[in-house]
Symmetry: D3
Subunit: 297 residues, 6 copies
């Protein structure tokens, strides 16, 4: 990684040192802990944000935090299907994943997105290994039925095997994981497409993570979507259902919040919906008092 | 893996046991040794052969042999480029690999071929992890110039980092590796396409392999290409250049033979060009007296 | 071990490979598991059978199965007592083991039989270590009383110390064990003669074995001793007592069956009475679907 | 350690994050490397500077740098001797260290200064262990003669035993070391006073340190002592003698520079004379491009 | 350590060997066990006794016993306070420990006494490391209130962190520990003075010691203080309170006995009040049938 | 082992402790070192001496010395051959070892003598494992020819494999080894009889022993065999040949001395011919200044 291609901060060395020192208590707090990051949204598209996320991840790894990065890649899959002229069939309003579609999913997620992220971390001096749920039998999944109907090669995770992950984390590696699983039963030997948020939550539970961080393109959960100042900073797990009933947690926030709940119920200490559009969102969340976004605990 | 879906061999159990016992000296010979297999050709296309190769690899791993599988995937890349309507530019008669082409290479090799192989080994009860040269910094490469001209994102391997490989091999995992490397210098952070045969040979050298096995679609090196009985079973390393000059080793066999020479010169004990069209070519080569194909030592 | 001194099997290499592959699921099933074999009967007398058993044991060890071999040696002890002109005293119809007799037992079992087996495994390329219950304090025993009467230096096992066994098994060694124990109480410092079948069962329990295999000179437990086709392939542990009452399990089969029951009750998964007169009985039992002999589970 | 008792830096979180990121390349550079710091001068007297040094040391340890802290304590020893009314005898202008004086040296260095530093690091959340050269046989020394005359219990280091240091460094502990050694020969069982700068240099050599940092009360080596802008930033080892002859390196700087030379000659990569009067001098030296003070390499 | 400076024992080599052999059962009994010794009283003042204690400790360590030595140093602290002309304030008849006093405590205990003991063990060929409760966070303490009144920097142990101790004991080191702790709460970063007997008992509990040995200047607990023959050799833990009520255990023996009770209640097998005025009291206690002093169990 | 069955030594506990302490420097000297003892002669026949040797061995093991015990057993073999009425053939005045004789050798050495020694050490609380050269492939041997003539199954050691020995020594076990080897070439799978003194010397070399101790029935090497006071205490390796020429080293002492020379030439520090008729000869040799017998260095 080149040194110095940062925006020009006119701050002297002494002040720089003090700023480093303000990070110390946070570093001490998280050292040796595991943080699972679901990487997605704008932070995966905007080049500048991408660079910032990778640097954050490398820094976290350097100061002794065990980081796992989980990613999906919906928009890139869409684009490739289109480029290949593949027409989709829909079931209950959801795309049916046939073998051809799944092939594209694997290629885009495991071949392009995953290896691009891994290459960027390597180039920045970090040590990453790109995997999917097939490798080392990480994720085994069964077909997911939507309203009793088959969606093709779409799976829900049945088991998480953390042997390989732990080996890698113990030797200081950053695992980068695509949301693809190994099929069970009739789908033995095949790949199934799985939801990346849920994959991240399941990993967080399986490795006993301290935090799950879901990177999104919103500020967090807002009391009033029109009013960015209405951010709810903390939601106790016990109040989540009430907020859903009241319609405060709604729309696209519901699956995100459910995913956080899944992690918390499995023993993860805290789960956060954070705004990936902010540069260095990960560092700000982890290394400052106020943090960012909405925390469910 | 289902038991019993083998062709019906009318052999009684006693004889089966004796046949197993005939494999014992070979198992003792290779136990704990590392074998690098370049997987390719028909054995990677024909469904029945694929199944047989995966079973062989799992068996080798089970009896304590450390197996590394390296693969390319030229024909599938071709097909995908065509499907995407990508037109190629040629330099010195060689395809120029621009960013778009490299993107397809990564998707096909690392996303489809690699994960399919890995899934099949997992389904057969083996433990495989699919990687490319980017992961763990396995391969670093510089641009390869052909007659002084740039071929785009095509690389030649500058370094091999075996840390991750050894960790995996030591815990009984079968690494499956795509021929893609991490760029150096101007290409830092980018992927480069590398030759899979050479990648296999370089790994064989770096991990101190006992054998390099190149699976091809020919019987081996023939004195007379028309006459399958003219197979040369053993070529001492020292005589290879002479056979090339004499035109015995020619055409497509030249790069294969050079690759074997590269391995031998780096300390690999033996390198073999074997016929991947035979079912269980790996087992026959390793576990019978006569072996198959051409051995360079 | 010399290659090739097998009977001539006119089977081509491809078929050989497929036969190896049929063993794969069994190898996968038993890899890393511990199998305790009570070696005895004809298989310990007939030279050809001896060679076959040793090869089987080496093969099992090579494919990652942890094998423990326990042996007795009644007939050889008899012969030596006779050669030395030692006359025996009988108590309740059982031979009384005085110090002189015990001395012969130790010499024959620990000095001749044990070291012969060990030497044969070493010569075949396996790594064996010959031990008795004295070494590393493996077996401690108290005097066994028969109907209240003392039988001299005959013991029943009071404790099994597996430290040494596990150290050896973990480094790939095949322990070969004579049925001699270290005395307790009044017999401290002395050796006691113990029953080899029970010793095998106790070891199987202590090391958490997957299987106990008792090699005998019969086909297994037959419903009708006259009719070899009346072999009972499986006896659930719960039905054993009934079969004994019904007289189906009788005579010399009773202690063998009780020994199996002892193993099962101690947590061993399966115990088998197998026919050691068949060459490669161990391989056939472990590596084919039907197995051989009678299994108690 | 309390959070937040820093001077108020009106810098937003995003900028804070970027400043952390600018430290990343330096953290990557020094991770797992060993840095030996000779702590002394004003930085050991001024309360604010003390706090800053301890925080720096903890931060370095947190980001994976192995830090060894070596200290003397001349002024405090003086004060205590005076408080006890102890009169000193001088030899060749140097204080003669009799048993009573040595007793005071041990008490002040090993009992007060060492434990105060250790307590402060512990309170800040670091893990320190306070030692002197007696512990684990770290330093063995012989009497130092000045111009042939005995100075009493003053030693020069004869051997460094790093076993204990490595054990501690490997488990993430910060060793804090007083400049007291174990006597050899006639002084067996006695403590000898040793020079702390040299002790630091000897440890740096013995543990294969990346850097030796001598904290002083000057800016570094100045070409013109009157002109703070005449700081010499880098002195190649080969030019040091010339600079001493020319009188550029003179007075109190000579032993400091010699000490650096000792370290460099023993294989330490770089040795620095830095200005301990600057807050966070350690962080600024290690984590910024320009560094501070004079580097000898 | 010099060989041979023992009093002249006119005993031949054969008898010497037999005497060594009489120690064997005791060595076997304690091998690998941990013994915590509170070192104090005359044995810490008389030069000859000091030498004898250090030799005992080294011998115990050599034969595989894990020894921890805990010491106080009241009289030396007194003397130093007096030498410095420090006047003491008393609260409830107990000396108030102000910062200046605590400073002297640290210097005398951690700087002089601790390092002298450590140096002597090193000189005798043992491997000792001198520590106090600050190092590695061994002891954390809160202020002790006497009858509700503050005694200054006097603490009672709140937690014992054995990580460092176990690391040292596992590598054959003899930890020598001063009775000084790290303050909690308002005293964070400060040292507190703690009772050495209790410190020894707490360590014995925390490391799961086999024995706690308190070295005193009395024969043990006597039924009649005037009559040395009235030594009570064994007091069952359950009878201790009764003996206190009866006035048999009284005066200075009460805190010693309570300290033993603390150890026993925490799981230590036996606690002994032994007579440190006897040379080799430790060896005699551990390596002879009758032992010495009073044992509470 | 029972406590107290020693001859009555009227020595008080204090003196006992001092005698233990006189052993300390020797214990420190040999701790962690390996001592190979060739056990034989009267010390293996006389019951009282046997007990004393076993206690010595256990004590040495307890104080951290790694002890290997090698034994032969000529007289017991003779007696058994006689009891079996086996007549011997002689070649060049040496007994010809046919298969039947070798069978007796194995039984007596590996079955009786070895297991008796092992049982005695176990009973005394030591941890011994009885082995011969067959176990773990410890000794491989070729036939020894005497003056060109075949002596049957008599071997000379061709290789020593210390893997198993080191595993056992590292876990505190005392290996007890019979002088029987595994044949090579024509004798593959057979046992060969080897010289126990040479076996001990070869092991001492292979494990890097500090000392080789040959227990004999003489005082050592005497200048005048008639005069017990003419014992030569030390023979430098370089002078041995001269002493042989001069006839000082003669008869049965020649092979003993040659065996010591073999050890010294292979890197063993010291080799001793000691008088096994003295009780506790091992302790006296190792733990007293003067030692006993003749040392070659």
């Amino acid at each position: 990684m080149q040194r110095g291609n940062m925006k020009d901060l006119t701050i002297n060395n002494g002040d720089r040192a003090e700023i480093l020192i303000t990070a110390l208590p946070y570093i001490q707090e998280y050292e040796g802990k595991t943080i699972v990051v679901k990487y997605g949204g704008n932070a995966m598209i905007n080049e500048e944000l991408k660079v910032a996320v990778m640097r954050d991840v490398i820094l976290l790894s350097c100061v002794g935090i065990r980081v796992v990065l989980v990613h999906g890649g919906g928009p890139e899959i869409e684009a490739m299907l289109k480029a290949l002229g593949k027409e989709s069939r829909f079931v209950q309003g959801l795309r049916y994943t046939d073998e051809e579609t799944m092939d594209v999913v694997k290629m885009v997620l495991c071949g392009r997105v995953n290896k691009n992220i891994t290459a960027q971390i390597q180039a920045g001096g970090g040590n990453a290994v790109g995997l999917c749920g097939i490798d080392g039998g990480l994720f085994k999944a069964r077909r997911l039925k939507a309203g009793g109907e088959d969606l093709g090669l779409v799976g829900e995770i049945a088991s998480v095997e953390t042997g390989l992950l732990n080996t890698l984390l113990n030797s200081g590696v950053i695992p980068v994981i695509s949301s693809v699983a190994l099929g069970l039963g009739e789908d033995e030997g095949k790949a199934l497409n799985i939801n990346a948020d849920i994959a991240a939550a399941k990993i967080a539970v399986a490795v006993g993570a301290e935090k799950l961080l879901l990177m999104t393109d919103v500020k967090g959960i807002l009391r009033d979507v029109q009013d960015p100042d209405s951010l709810i900073k903390v939601i106790p797990r016990g109040e989540l259902e009430k907020l859903k009933k009241e319609g405060v947690v709604k729309g696209g926030m519901i699956p995100k919040a459910d995913c956080c709940a899944l992690a918390i119920d499995g023993g993860v200490k805290r789960a956060h919906i954070i705004d990936g559009r902010l540069p260095h969102a990960l560092l700000v969340e982890l290394f400052t008092d106020e943090g960012i976004g909405t925390m469910i605990e």
